[in-house]
Symmetry: C2
Subunit: 146 residues, 2 copies
């Protein structure tokens, strides 16, 4: 059993954020002491791990709550939950591809400014950067503009 302060430190999340998640219904099974103090058990900790994961993959709080609702409903929702994770996997892979394109653009810009800094000016480079691009950078450039 963990207090909200302990969980806050474990996950490096502010206490009000944990309360906010609770208010939004993300901890279905959260117990309380008679005085009203929250008690996080291993299930809540695992839930929080899943919450963090789904948030990082771009899911909204209300979608995460829906998932938590499904969990609470038991085995009848197993297929739905499975589908959700398969879709999320697809979504993450899409994000990775997009991020790779962004990185390609940034790699090109790094080369561009490296060269411009060496020359002390970007005037000449601006004119025919395409001709002067090394092959590795050309590929980044082309990928980034597609």
């Amino acid at each position: 059993m963990y207090s909200i302060g302990q969980v806050s430190k474990m996950f490096d999340l502010p206490i009000p954020t944990l309360r906010y998640y609770d208010k939004e219904g993300l901890f279905r099974d959260l117990e309380r002491e008679p005085s009203g103090i929250r008690k996080f058990n291993d299930q809540s900790i695992e839930a929080l791990r899943v919450i963090e994961c789904l948030k990082k993959s771009g899911m909204q709080i209300k979608e995460i709550r829906e998932f938590m609702d499904w969990c609470a409903q038991g085995d009848s929702t197993l297929e739905k939950r499975k589908e959700m994770f398969y879709q999320q996997r697809k979504e993450i892979k899409r994000q990775m591809e997009e991020l790779q394109k962004t990185l390609d653009m940034v790699e090109y810009k790094c080369w561009y400014y490296d060269t411009a800094c060496e020359e002390g000016s970007e005037k000449d480079l601006k004119k025919d950067f395409e001709k002067r691009m090394p092959e590795a950078i050309r590929q980044c450039f082309e990928n980034a503009h597609r």
Copy 2:
């Protein structure tokens, strides 16, 4: 030269978004017709490509404006701009690592629900999923929990 409507279609961005970017000072060189209508030239188009790239890597509008200001100031800011792209490259690589961890967690969950769906219940699986995990999934699981 392109109208705001053409640019909107080219980049699949709403017209008010382009106006908003302009108001925020993201197009330093944007020309206007005497009547006030915006004319996007190749420079503005290239600027928009950079804006999209920097936004995708998580940069804020005001940081992007600062970069555009540097561009307008000429060669004296080349080092700053180079530094910015190097830092952004680092940031994107960090994001990719994080996304990989998220994917690992989701891969584990896909396996979990695959197995649970086959059995029609997650009761048994919940008890000793660690013992039953295939080696490939175990690695995802461990990575995701680090």
